[in-house]
Each structure stands twice: as C-alpha cells, then as structure tokens.
C-alpha cells in the first residue's frame, strides 16, 4: 500500500576516510607540547572547530592513548577529563545536562583549568568550613582554628 518503496532513495555511505587533518593536528600538538615544555605556555585546541571525520577522530584517540589520570566533573552536566599517554596533553569533553557534547577540547597544559579549584571557591569554602566547624561541639580545652590567619 505504501508508495515509499517506489521512491528511489539511495543511501550513500558516509565519507569516513582519513582527511589528513588528524595528522596535521598531531604535528600541531607536537609544536605546542614543545612550547609547554620549554616556556610553560599553555594552549587549547577546539576539536569541534576543525573539519575532522569520524575516522580522523578515532585515529587521534588511538594515537594519543590514555594516560594515568581521569576525572569526571559533575557541574551543569558531566565533564570528562583525562590525560593522554603524552603527559601534558589532556582531553576535556564537556557534556550538557542531557548528555550532549557541548565542547570537546585538547588542552596542552600541566593541569586543565576545570580541575583546578577556583580561587573564589577556596575563599567560600573557608568560610563554610568555619561555619561548619562552629557547629561542632568544641573539644574541652582547645580553641577553634582561624582561616584568616593564613
């Protein structure tokens, strides 16, 4: 009954070959890693801003491998961070609250910013810690610590 079969749609296989952009990116990483080693200069490359095919991305992932550290940050959705087998090159993938990738970045740094504790948070935490400490029943004969002394 359906006339859909008569519509001559042809499914063309996606062009998933290597475009060469993955290789170019690795050369780029090489240069930036050198700058990090010699001058301590950090850098970042937005993977979604580059025309990378699925094969390119897979090649890149396989080439860079997985290093010693992986972190998951739960803030407005998940963020997955791991150091590649090449120390100083980090992959940071940001997901939205419904699990879609909103940014995918290779960071050349000793420590991605998203992992580092924001200075403002330290100050806030100090205040909150003191508040919480105030709620603890004090041990006999001791006074409480004072954050502001540091």
């Amino acid at each position: 009954m359906s006339g859909l079969a008569d519509i001559g749609v042809r499914i063309v296989a996606a062009q998933d070959g290597l475009s060469g952009n993955g290789h170019a990116l690795i050369h780029e990483l090489d240069k930036r890693l050198e700058r990090l080693a010699e001058q301590g200069a950090t850098d970042a490359i937005d993977l979604r801003g580059l025309p990378l095919s699925a094969a390119d991305l897979q090649m890149l992932e396989d080439f860079l491998g997985v290093g010693e550290i992986e972190a998951r940050i739960d803030a407005l959705g998940l963020t997955r961070v791991y150091e590649t087998a090449y120390a100083g090159i980090w992959r940071v993938t940001y997901y939205s609250e419904d699990g879609k990738v909103v940014a995918d970045v290779l960071e050349v740094t000793r420590q991605p910013g998203i992992i580092t504790t924001p200075p403002g948070d330290v100050a806030d935490a100090c205040g909150r810690l003191r508040e919480a400490l105030g709620d603890l029943p004090p041990l006999p004969g001791r006074s409480t610590n004072n954050c502001e002394a540091s």
Partner: protein, 352 residues
C-alpha cells in the same frame, strides 16, 4: 531582581558553581568559533559582567523568531533568561498581560534608562501613521521610538526587523520598514534569518553580554562571527559544484547522489548565514542537507528576488515578448536600411 550583581554573584546565588560557569564559557567559545584557549579570558569577562535588562518588542511578525529562540540548544533559553539576562518584557514568554505587562515594561525602561538592551522582532509598519499594527493602543512605530530612547543598543532579531522581511515584500501594503530605517541614533545589531538560527540569537546576546560591546558587523550590520561566510562557501556539497555535478530535478540521479542544488535555484552563493556550520536542531541538519536549496532568507528582500527555484545566473523575468519585439524591430530596420541602400544604388547606376 538585583541588577547591580555581577553575573558570577548572580549565578553563585542560584547554586551554579564556578566550574559550571567555566564549562559554560568553554561551550560558548566553541559555539562562537573563538580559539579554545580564549575560554578562560571569556570566563573572566563574563564573571564581571552585569546582567543587562532586556526588553523584547514584537511587531509585524509570525513569532517564528521566538519559536526558534526557545529551541536554542546552547546556551538554552532558560540559561539565558534566568542566568545571563534580565528579560523584563516579552509578550509571548511573560506571564503578565494587559496593563500589568505594559506597566512592567514602563518600569523596566525607567529603572534601566540608557542601559537596557532592546530586542525587536517583526517589521515596523509606518502606513496610516502606523495603525496597521498596534499593541495596547500604541502604534508599533511609536513604541519603538520611545523604547529606543533609553536603549544602550538594539538587536533586530529576524529578517523582518533587520530588513523588513515578508511584510515589506512587494507591494508592501502596510509600508513596513526595518528598525534601522526608524532609529538612527543607536547601535543596531541585525540577526537576520527567517527565522534566525537559535544558537545565533543566544550566541549574539551572550557575546554582547560578555564583551559589553557591539561585535564586528558586516555591511548589513550582521555579526561577522556568524554571517561572515556564504552558505555556498561552507556547504558540504560545494565540491560537487566545483566538479560540475548538479541535481537537475528534486528526484533525479543527481539529487539522490546529493549533488549541488545550484541548478534548482539554491541561493547559497549569495546568502550569508551560519546554517552550513552551526546547522539546525542541535546541529542535526540544514535545508541543503535535507535536499532543498537555500532560499536566501537572511538576505534583504529575499522574497522579491525572483523565483526560489530559478538558478542565480538566469533572468528574474520570464516574459520573452520584449526580446521578440527587439528582433522584429531589428528586422524592420534592416529591411528599411536595405531598401534605402538599393534605391540609392539604383539612382547612382541610372545617373551613370
């Protein structure tokens, strides 16, 4: 709402952490095609930014622009209106109505005089003193002029407010005009498109908020960051154009193979927008990817530039009578010229 709070303070109060904020900035940088290394600077700028009051006016429009806006994937409309902006007046999105709504607008305009961002969708009717389109008894054109006085900048969302759009299409019965024809003394950003890409609307608003300044604009006052390239130049079907491979009808072999739609009237070569890169519906697709040529909806007067289905290199007219008249006229002139020449020849021969 406390308008003196910085964005960071406001977000923290709402339980959004600094890391979440940093993450948001990374996504924003990616969307705006900024280098990923700019994200920390963006975060720093945004943290210090103050949430601007936004007044959104809808004139002669179909609400397609607002419909589009509500589908923004990142930043979402919720993020935008709850965290980044103070959307003080939007007829479609606000709960208030009638006198209460009008009072809210007046109050917001007075409180933020000289500082608020005025967003306009829809064209401005100027016919019959603007009486073709009124809200609460006021002509749109008067409302716009009044609201523009206290605005820091105006964002024209959609082709109607940017260029007049479909209401301005020939014969333009309501004498519809773009915002830039009415207001001359304020910075105007045009976000054209019918409708504009949702991420482009939110992206431009977020960018204004971040840098507190008008982005770099093209000759039609559109942000170059999104309107810097033609659809054709960023189209994934471009290689087929260069190879001379075209779909000749919407169901032929070429169409099935996904070849270039130039011959079917695609206006991609003369249309500046981000459809081919940002795409639509969470980057799912865009018209050309779905098999239809670009209509050029983000360009001025796209409705009156000839058929959507006629190739760009062909005439906009189809009446060939003037051409036939030219040929017939030429024939008459030629015959007359030959007759005169023969007559003269004959006379010269006789004289000899």
């Amino acid at each position: 709402m406390n308008d003196d709070q910085t964005l960071e303070q406001a977000l923290l109060r709402q339980g959004v952490s600094r890391r979440a904020f940093l993450k948001y900035c990374a996504a924003l940088a990616s969307l705006m095609a900024m280098p990923a290394s700019a994200a920390p600077a963006l975060a720093e700028g945004l943290a210090k930014a103050r949430r601007p009051a936004v007044i959104w006016l809808s004139f002669q429009e179909c609400t397609g622009c607002t419909e589009s806006l509500t589908r923004s994937f990142y930043p979402t409309l919720e993020t935008l209106i709850f965290n980044m902006l103070s959307l003080d007046y939007h007829e479609t999105l606000m709960a208030a109505a009638g006198f209460q709504a009008e009072a809210a607008r007046e109050a917001a305009m007075a409180r933020n005089h000289g500082k608020y961002l005025l967003v306009v969708d829809g064209s401005v009717s100027t016919g019959l003193d603007g009486s073709y389109s009124t809200v609460a008894g006021h002509a749109n054109v008067d409302t716009l002029k009044r609201a523009a006085q206290g605005a820091a900048a105006i964002v024209a969302v959609g082709t109607c407010s940017s260029f007049g759009g479909i209401p301005k299409a020939n014969p333009n019965p309501t004498a519809a005009r773009p915002v830039s024809d009415i207001v001359h003394d304020k910075p105007i950003i045009n976000i054209s498109g019918c409708p504009p890409i949702p991420e482009v609307i939110t992206g431009v608003l977020a960018q204004y908020l971040t840098f507190g300044a008008i982005p770099e604009l093209d000759e039609h006052r559109r942000p170059r960051i999104f309107y810097g390239n033609t659809i054709h130049d960023r189209c994934y079907r471009r290689p087929f154009y260069d190879q001379g491979k075209f779909a000749k009808t919407f169901d032929d072999e070429g169409a099935r193979n996904g070849w270039c739609l130039y011959e079917l009237g695609c206006k991609g070569p003369t249309t500046y927008n981000a459809c081919a890169t940002v795409k639509w519906n969470e980057a799912t697709s865009f018209p050309i990817q779905s098999g239809h040529g670009c209509l050029g909806c983000s360009e001025p007067d796209f409705w009156d530039k000839g058929s959507f289905y006629k190739p760009l290199s062909t005439p906009t007219w189809s009446d060939r009578a003037p051409l036939a008249a030219g040929a017939v006229g030429g024939l008459a002139l030629g015959v007359a010229a030959a007759a005169v020449a023969r007559h003269r020849q004959k006379r010269i021969t006789e004289e000899q």
